[in-house]
């Protein structure tokens, strides 16, 4: 059963056992052996050749299914998780190849530490042989978990800091935690056992309160079958095709890894989590018109932004939002209240959460090709949004990992426009790489933004985001017409 939990939110490593409760602190071996004993005994475990579990995860209120999968593991280390929710996909280990294949991002072969962990986690039917997997395990103390005094056991070696707590009273596992390795980075995950079920002589957790990062849910084992006939754990055809391409040197990196690499290379998830304000000023050049303007942009948490561009002859073009009312104003068009979806021209709304949780916005991503763009070797990645809006194409530079070009359709006041944004230059700002020269190509118009000054996480006076009085008045009128406050 350890295998299923690994397939999505931190797949769970199964427990070990304790033999008896000694009067003084026991060794890890004693704790784990006792667990094997109280869950059925080594002989019972060793008699099973395969285990197949149907599992389901729901939000704590029970209303929403967040995980549904069938997980099969076989003695010897092969495994296959077939996942229906949150997305169609599969994951497993076959003949020492650890892989993931998802609707979201296609095939990914696990390498290095991630592969080692997957291999180890796949051997769930070897509970009784835990010494082969974690020979240097040790007890790190006694803690009270859910009101039960428990031994805390560090399973070693384990680069993901696998830790399990075993009840001193019953010998059963109470909690398990580890770091889940993925292309998105290490994520703390684990569960606390709430219920146990015995089947065919083996006792296993059947209801667990689980977490992955800040997200909590309840996991249930709906059904367990040992030694199911006709189990085939071979990887799917697309994984075979990928491995063949890999052997021929033609395999492309997985799109998720490419996108995550950009996040890491440009500053890392910690940076984006800590990014609360930005102020950028620079020059906006309308290339074919030989026009230049000065642009200043402020953004802060909560969807607040303000952007002002002064173009000779055109006057000041402003747009902004205080997080509630989005607006723009120019001499040509006058003051307007905009729909909330309409953010700044350069996408200046500061939304670090969106940056880090980009997966939530997309249905799937694929690496399509390796291409030369402006003389740079790039991977072309296609992003398909969940909301049915047109695909986004992105080119990531192979050597630096940074985003070089993005081609997307945006809904403007004048209809849907195709935009090509080329990040020609990044500048080091506060130890992160910030795009300092961006070329924006729209139908009939090419513009170039060159940042002169970039300030990140500096105090920004909230007055900057204040909605002008005439816009507030418009919003009030609009709300009265629509029957709702803005």
């Amino acid at each position: 059963m350890r295998g299923f939990a690994r397939c999505t939110p931190s797949l769970f490593v199964l427990a070990s056992a304790l033999v008896a409760a000694p009067e003084k602190a026991p060794s890890a071996g004693q704790v784990l052996d006792r667990y094997v004993t109280v869950t059925g005994g080594a002989a019972a475990w060793r008699a099973k050749r395969t285990e197949t579990d149907d599992i389901e995860g729901r939000t704590l209120d029970g209303l929403r299914v967040v995980l549904r999968a069938t997980v099969t593991v076989a003695r010897g280390g092969n495994s296959l998780s077939q996942i229906q929710i949150p997305q169609a996909g599969s994951e497993g280990v076959f003949k020492n190849v650890a892989w993931v294949s998802s609707h979201f991002s296609g095939v990914r072969i696990k390498h290095g530490m991630e592969r080692d962990e997957a291999m180890r986690d796949a051997r769930i039917l070897e509970e009784a042989d835990w010494r082969a997997l974690y020979p240097r395990s040790r007890v790190a103390g006694v803690e009270t978990i859910n009101g039960e005094r428990s031994y805390k056991v560090l399973l070693l070696p384990s680069p993901t800091q696998k830790t399990e707590w075993f009840s001193i009273a019953t010998g059963l596992m109470v909690r398990r935690s580890a770091y889940e390795l993925s292309s998105a980075g290490d994520m703390p995950a684990g569960y606390t056992v709430e219920e146990w079920t015995s089947r065919d002589g083996i006792k296993q957790p059947s209801v667990m309160r689980a977490w992955r990062g800040d997200f909590q849910y309840r996991l249930r084992v709906l059904n367990t079958i040992y030694d199911l006939m006709g189990v085939d754990l071979q990887y799917p055809a697309e994984v075979g095709a990928y491995l063949q391409a890999e052997r021929a040197g033609k395999a492309l990196p997985n799109a998720e890894e490419i996108i995550e690499r950009h996040i890491f290379e440009s500053g890392g998830p910690e940076f984006y989590e800590m990014l609360h304000t930005q102020k950028i000023s620079g020059t906006l050049t309308f290339i074919s018109r030989n026009l230049q303007g000065h642009m200043e942009t402020w953004a802060a948490d909560g969807g607040k932004y303000y952007q002002a561009t002064d173009i000779p002859g055109m006057g000041r073009q402003e747009e902004g939002s205080d997080g509630l009312i989005a607006w723009d104003r120019s001499p040509s068009i006058g003051p307007r209240v905009k729909p909330h979806t309409n953010t700044g021209t350069l996408g200046v709304t500061l939304d670090a959460a969106a940056m880090l949780q980009w997966r939530l916005l997309l249905d799937h991503v694929r690496t399509e090709a390796e291409q030369k763009v402006d003389g740079r070797d790039c991977y072309r990645v296609r992003l398909t949004p969940r909301d049915g809006s047109p695909d986004i194409l992105r080119w990531y530079e192979r050597d630096t990992g940074l985003l070089y070009r993005s081609e997307l359709a945006v809904q403007s006041d004048m209809g849907q426009l195709s935009l090509v944004m080329t990040y020609e230059q990044y500048r080091d700002v506060n130890d992160v790489k910030w795009p300092s020269r961006v070329r924006i190509s729209a139908p009939g118009q090419d513009t170039l933004f060159s940042a002169d000054d970039v300030e990140l996480n500096q105090p920004v006076d909230d007055a900057v985001f204040e909605v002008p009085a005439e816009i507030r008045e418009l919003a009030q009128k609009k709300a009265e017409t629509d029957g709702a406050m803005p």
């Binding site: 001499p331 068009i333 006058g334 195709s418 008045e473």
Partner: protein, 425 residues
């Protein structure tokens, strides 16, 4: 976003440039390269990616040998023009290098005598005289026929009309006459006119800086921009500005004028002679007259996008009758605004059919020295009318006459005024 900023004064392919002598090897090479530029530009930029259903590659393969064999520049132009004609689109033209030379040879200068010429029939007539200008002080009056400038008869310029079939032709000639009238400030100009009694008159006076603010917008040449607004004797508001430029200056004046006309029985927006400019200003101005959001003036279809000229209602609007005055010189943004508000039944249009030059076009110089004008988009008004080539047809067609001008009357304003009064019986 930008509609064609100035009237197309160069749309006169084939009217000049007599056949040159034998082409040099360099000219031949330049002609072949020019052909390739023209062919590629159409392939890549024509708003219709299907190129009117033509097999463009096949046209390339059959046309190039003709260019290679051409014996004169005139023949090259004829072949290229023939190729472009197959697109059946306006705004495609080969502009002879000779014409560039003629335009470049004019004196230039910012000085003006204060005369706005108009072409009526086959004559250049004084359309208006700037109050207080040297021309007014010299006794020049609207309706007089302009016969010669600095001793040179205007007949050759007027003869261009025989060769030009385009709706914009009178404007091209008007611009040609204007260029002849203008020159360095404080330098004298001699004008021969024929007055309303058929009597010739010779006057000389110094040019002065014309009214308006000198503005430059990006690549466009410097131009004089002015804005006028006044209340007419019957109480209607009247607004006129000569180009859609400098929104930072024009739009606040427009808004202020409209506020002052708040209780006027109607407003006239005079777009006569306005060649267009910044397209977004059409949407902004329409917002002063339209109260429902989501309305649009029309669509501009480019190769890779369709831009809707959406109207954004202003917080304060004028809701009375709106008359828009147009003529053959109303082009581009003027047509988008007039045609759109006409389609939306928000304005009644008076005057003569507009230039039919709504879409943005570019002119590039070819390796052989000729110019090549090509369309970047097609424009359809909200009712589905293609403005390009056709122009905006006024609801009430009114043509100015020399006699009316001489009598100090503006027949178009009078017609609009009568309509406004009829709306308040």
């Amino acid at each position: 976003m930008f509609a064609r900023p100035v009237g197309i004064c160069l749309l006169i392919a084939g009217i000049c440039g007599p056949a040159a002598a034998q082409l040099t090897p360099k000219q031949k090479a330049d002609n072949i390269e020019s052909f390739e530029v023209v062919w590629r530009t159409v392939r890549d930029r024509h708003p219709d990616p299907k190129l009117n259903g033509l097999d463009w590659q096949s046209i390339h393969d059959s046309t190039r040998p003709e260019i290679e064999k051409a014996q004169s520049m005139a023949e090259v132009r004829r072949i290229l023009t023939g190729m472009l004609d197959r697109l059946q689109s306006s705004h495609y033209a080969i502009i002879p290098s000779d014409l560039y030379r003629e335009i470049d040879s004019t004196a230039g200068g910012d000085g003006s005598p204060g005369i706005v010429p108009v072409i009526i029939g086959d004559k250049a007539v004084v359309g208006s005289v700037e109050p207080g200008s040297p021309a007014e002080q010299a006794g020049i009056r609207p309706g007089m026929v302009l016969d010669a400038v600095n001793g040179a008869k205007l007949t050759p310029s007027l003869k261009l009309l025989d060769n030009l079939k385009n709706q914009e032709s009178p404007r091209i000639v008007e611009q040609s006459v204007t260029k002849k009238l203008n020159g360095p400030v404080d330098q004298p100009v001699a004008i021969d006119v024929i007055d309303e009694h058929g009597q010739p008159k010779h006057v000389e006076f110094e040019r002065k800086s014309p009214k308006g603010k000198l503005v430059r917008f990006g690549n466009l040449p410097e131009t004089r921009l002015y804005f006028d607004s006044r209340t007419l004797p019957d109480g209607a508001g009247y607004i006129h500005f000569n180009e859609f430029l400098e929104p930072a200056s024009i739009m606040p004046q427009f808004e202020a004028a409209l506020k002052s006309f708040h209780s006027a029985p109607g407003v006239m927006l005079d777009l006569r002679g306005n060649p267009g400019g910044i397209g977004i200003m059409a949407m902004g101005i329409a917002g002063f007259f339209i109260d429902k959001p989501g309305r649009k003036l029309g669509d501009m279809k480019m190769r890779d996008a369709t831009l809707s000229f959406t109207v954004f209602p202003r917080p304060e609007r004028y809701e009375g009758p709106l008359a828009i005055l147009v003529d053959e010189g109303s082009a581009s943004t003027s047509e988008i605004l007039a045609g759109g508000l006409q389609d939306l039944k928000r304005a009644r249009v008076f005057g003569t059919r507009t230039a039919g030059a709504a879409l943005p076009s570019d002119i590039i110089r070819l390796p052989n020295g000729d110019g090549f004008q090509y369309a970047q988009a097609s424009y359809t008004s909200v009712s589905g009318k293609v403005l390009e080539g056709a122009g905006v047809t006024p609801d009430i067609e009114v043509r100015q006459t020399r006699e009316a001008l001489a009598a100090g009357r503006d027949l178009v304003v009078e017609a609009a005024d009568a309509w406004i009064r009829s709306m308040h019986p």
